[in-house]
Amino acid sequence: MLNISGTQINFLKVRVITFILSAILIFLSIGAFFVNGLNFGIDFKGGTLIEIETSQEIEISGLRDNLNTLELGDVQVQEFGSSKNLLIRVEQQLGGDQVQQDVVQIVKDSLGSYLSSDINFRRTEVVGPKVSGELIQSGAIAIFVAVFAMLVYIWFRFEWQFSLGAVLALVHDVILTIGVFCITQLEFNLPIIAAILTIVGYSMNDTVVVYDRVRENLRKYRSKEITDLLNLSINDTLSRTIVTSVTTLLALLSLFIFGGEVIKGFTFAMIWGVIVGTYSSIFVAAPLLRYLDVKREWNTTSAVDSTR
């Protein structure tokens, strides 16, 4: 029987270590962002993506060389899930939106004459410069709006100290997620933005549960030392934090392993986000409250008095 209840771990004791760890990770992420940068997919960079399935195995390097003679700029060919599934990426062509459309036909013609096997075109995506520019902008705006909305909500429901702590933890999670994409050079595309927004929601969810308990304990133990009180609150909610993270990770791992190639990057981002989000709720968001001078004089009557 799993029982995590009633723990008395001194989480705040290690706060210096975890703060340093977080600082290092943030530093690495920002560094990787400027050194490696994000490996943008065609959603954000424009260009053409074609996924094909062939009846025989294809020698990739030969195909790559062949496609590179088409003078379409950089053409990438990679295996996608199996050796008969290939992903072909052609960089964005100069000359505006209309020109991009010709690429598909040129590549299809070339594949048809180069490969002797049957080709099944599973997916074709062409994103022109205008749309890719807009997508990257709206993606960035969405993340900012989401973080800001969380800030306002927590401020509204708690106090500004909580709001600030929660948002710092969120920013931490977003930076580390973008960082892991810079380091691994996994493709960063539109669904990853969706994953980051979900991480924002999930991490906030975790933080709110801890904060809720902090508020409750602040009412309950008026003279308890804040460090002890925070420790108590984290321990009180630890069992829930772990159980929910595990169930979420179980579902996500299943999706990662069995859900197919197309959403692998998306699932990876979310798995990473759940881990980082859980970590940050315990080791960043809660300990931060110690430095934010939280109000101790709470109204004793419970804010929520639900009777049905």
């Binding site: 997916r123 074709t124 927004l197 979900t198 975790d206 809720d212 829930r240 169930t247 049905r308």
Partner: protein
Amino acid sequence: MLYFSNLKIFSVLTVIIITLLFAVPNFFGKDQLETFPNFFPKQKVNLGLDLQGGSHLLLEVDTEEIIKERVENLNADVRRVLKKNNLNYSNFKVSNESLKFIVEGFNSEIQKEISELSMSNSQNILAMGDQTNLIITQEENTVQINFTEEFIKQSVSNAVAQSLEIVRRRIDELGTREPSIQREGSSRIIIQLPGIDDPDRIKSLLGQTAKLTFQLVDTSVNFDPFNPSKAPIGSEILASDADEEFKYIVKKRIMVGGENLVDAQPGFDPQTNEPIVSFRFDRIGATKFGRVTQQNVGKPFAIVLDNKVISAPVIREAILGGSGQISGGFDSEEANDLAILLRAGALPAPLIILEERSVGPDLGADSIEAGQFAAIIGFIAVIIFMIFVYRYFGLLADIALIINLFMVLGVLSLFQATLTLPGIAGIILTIGMAVDANVLIFERVKEEIRNGSNMMNAVENGYKRALSTILDANITTLIAAIILFFMASGPVRGFSITLAIGIFTSVFTAFTFTRLLISFNAKRLKPNFVGLSKNA
């Protein structure tokens, strides 16, 4: 908290059963559904293009082209008025959106004349009650003429609406299955074509403005068709449609235009067996066509499509019946497409394809299969884990989870929301997160027991205490889902929909259904039911 009145039990179960009913059609084939009674819901989940296969195109109407055309018309109008009034102008400049020139003797009379002419030439665009569509400013002898912003906006808006209509007609003509054609923003059109994974033909149909004109060939000059000299005033050099290198010199004046066509059909020339397109003019077109052919027997007559000469046959005799045929060395599919284009009418401006996303039916089917399998495995893992941690209560939460999953499906079917691949991911994520509300409650219950409450009170207080936390925690995720819904489009939007539905159904089931299950057994509850050891 544990007491449920019969009315409450009844309403909770009714809500759940009705939602589940809407999920049922997804497990039956179309034929089986036909046999169901009439009152039974028959709508299945609406699959996105990424799951059922299909093509998504985002087009933009080239609005610059529209403004350019307006300015060109204005240019002709202004010059005509100036000439008519014997005014000498110089430094005539045509820019993107305005005309500028130097002239002597420009007065309010002439200004009025230009305004009126321009107004009468753009009747179909102006909004009711517009006094003018021009802004004319004069500084000594320098005159500048602009269109009003309102007029430009109206022109663009009209052109987009017209384009939308013509795109719809062209696609309908092809007999595509359930296409969706929508206007997006001020100048864009989104086309969704289920079941089409190679939209080449549609793209080429949409890539042509299909402006058809009949113009006389200028026979006054001799020239080398492969290297023509400058065209005389009033004529222009146009390339042949079949051979870019081959040029014609054609009189600029349009004798008859495609707007006068009432019908166009593909067919075969009975003598040569060559594919042709036969067309028929309306009354005005027939009269014009008859007059031109009568006056120009023996001369070549160019049939021009999008500034390219399809053919330039010699007029043998006057064609008075208002019908004719085009042959230009095309194959039967080309003839068919040309007929479609002519029937649907010309686009007011070129369309630019900004984005294309096409998914073949195999990939869609594979994605569904993989998604279903991942969901089942994830589901089983979560179910086992919950029982492991919370024992009897875990089992109740699992029952709620199953109900919850079918409710998501039911709500999706009911509202005909689109399920996409990221949407399936959203459902799987929901499996993981849906137990959260129950976890929060169960943890509270354990705590209460540890603090000395008896089981009944512990459960009562557990629900009471967990409520605000559950609301706060889920509202944050809901905020993220809502923002995603408004910022994203296509597949990613599908993710925000399932995520949001999952939040509602999971909070609902935790607070009604699981509680109801617990209340049925309230008297016999023991601490080990929630995963605590017996003597805790």
